[in-house]
Amino acid sequence: MRWSLCLGLPPKDMPMHDDGPSALQTGTTPILPITGKGLFVRRKGRDLLDVQDITIGGRGTTVLVGPNGAGKSLMLNILAGLKAPDRGTVLWNGVPPSRSRYCRFGMVLQSAVLLRRPALSNIEYALRAVGHDKVEARNRAHRALADAGMTKLASASARVLSGGERQRLALARALAVQPDVLFLDEPTSSLDPASVLAIERMVKAASDGGMRIVLIAHDLAQARRVSNEIMMMHNGRIIETAPTDRFFDAPKSAEAAAFIAGKILIS
């Protein structure tokens, strides 16, 4: 499977971070590895994020765990180029994120935003945005919807779908573009067991196809099922990064051990 389909975008593409000529590199270059250096965010005297060095590269699925307010969403949003840290730099394969490169980058936000149009059109929209023509976008959207098991809902209004259907549609929309990397912010929160499994299946299939996945989860059983690497955050810092089995069998840090044991971490 080809994960790196990037279509010709207008050359007058506006870089989001104007860093000179390198920022003008377009979507034809890979975006992995994604690196963050010295990422720091402080609000009202509290360090929300303090991550010296993070690299997301290679293959597989990383699950990001940690208590509420640990800074998981904040870090993913910064790595995604959606928010700017107070200090620090984010590079996608050595170049700051720019608009045209989002065709290789996918993300499902913690509260997914669906457009006011039918489910199918939502996917078509994303495909058109990265440059597919109408026919191609429609075909791919149908396929993506079928892969998500939502064919019946093609013409249903996206904004009136159930929570689980919305999550699945948001995931299908992100997958349809076939990005190199996919960030998922709690994609299965508040879903019934069947929907959780459906989403996990889609994520696994994508991962097997070569897509790099980073997923935030609170369900440790789920983390075990889908990941080959666990990254744990606490108080804005990355406490531990380890292969899944190792993390659960022999956590190195006291915080990780406490977290696995279900003990509340006092910040």
């Binding site: 149009r117 059109s121 078509e124 929209y125 058109r128 109408k134």
Partner: protein, 281 residues
């Protein structure tokens, strides 16, 4: 997709605007603009005579009806081809300053003083308008004035001056300056049981007379002469001088004069033609 939808709707709006502009440009070909007074318009005179002229000449006559003062100002701004108003001295000043070529008498009617049926000032049947006004002032009875620099208002001020009364000093008490057109002022007079001065044509066609009636009429001082002036094409190069002159010629000629004389309401003639086309004043 949606991009196309937005583009289409924008396109439609732009088209709508363009089409409006076009229709205006086309319709703008054969017409003249006459700056005139509310009294002539409200009386229905234009509705009677203009269709006759338009059918004969094939030129549309567009009447902007405002007070005489504003009509003259608009004409000074070159926003009209013909001026048809009733304030002789102001008209002569307009011509004197070069804004108009010549002034011609067109028609006349008269002003009347109207008031409540019980007539607390006791002016009914007086032959002199100034006496009537003095009576109203001396008893401080409500009087509604247009106070809008119209021909009617200018005439009213002249009569106050002739009677040696300065009503402006009492403005806000018995003397009410409405700052409105003739009809609006009559509405106010009726509602306040006030006296008012109006041209007869407006009064006859006025639909809200209630208990009010004409109390003073027939004084030669109440004579109301209408004049017509072609706006000077030297001051205003964009005027449609030829078409404007054609309309004026028609008004002053036998056909126009006949049309004016033929207009009546409730069996009463509203305007009396008195043009002397060869004798500008």
């Amino acid at each position: 997709m949606m991009k196309a939808a937005i583009r289409t709707s924008m396109f439609r709006s732009v088209m709508a605007v363009a089409m409006t502009l076009c229709t205006v440009a086309l319709a703008g070909d054969r017409h003249i603009i006459v700056q005139s007074t509310t009294s002539t318009q409200n009386s229905g005179l234009y509705d009677h005579i203009l269709p006759i002229y338009e059918a004969a000449a094939g030129v549309q006559v567009r009447v902007v009806a405002v007070g005489t003062g504003q009509a003259i100002k608009n004409a000074r701004n070159c926003d009209g081809d013909v001026l048809l108003v009733h304030a002789k001295s102001a008209e002569e000043a307009f011509v004197g300053q070069g804004y108009g070529k010549q002034r011609f008498d067109v028609m006349y009617n008269d002003f009347v003083i109207v008031g409540p049926r019980d007539d607390p000032a006791g002016i009914r049947g007086l032959s002199e308008a100034t006496e009537a006004l003095k009576a109203i002032a001396s008893l401080s009875l409500p009087f509604a004035s247009r106070a809008d620099d119209s021909g009617t208002h200018q005439k009213e001020m002249q009569l106050w001056r002739d009677g040696g009364v300065d009503p402006i000093a009492d403005s806000g008490t018995w003397y009410r300056e409405t700052g409105s057109g003739m009809g609006a002022t009559l509405n106010i007079a009726v509602a306040m049981n006030a006296y008012a001065m109006t041209d007869r044509a407006t009064w006859i066609s006025f639909g809200n007379k209630a208990e009010h009636s004409v109390l003073v009429e027939g004084d030669p001082d109440l004579f109301n002469q209408y004049g017509v002036i072609l706006v000077s094409s030297e001051k205003c190069p964009n005027t449609r001088a030829e078409a404007g002159q054609h309309f004026i010629n028609w008004l002053l000629g036998p056909d126009g004069q006949e049309a004016i004389a033929a207009y009546s309401l409730d069996g009463m003639q509203l305007f009396f033609p008195n043009a002397r086309p060869n004798d500008p004043s």
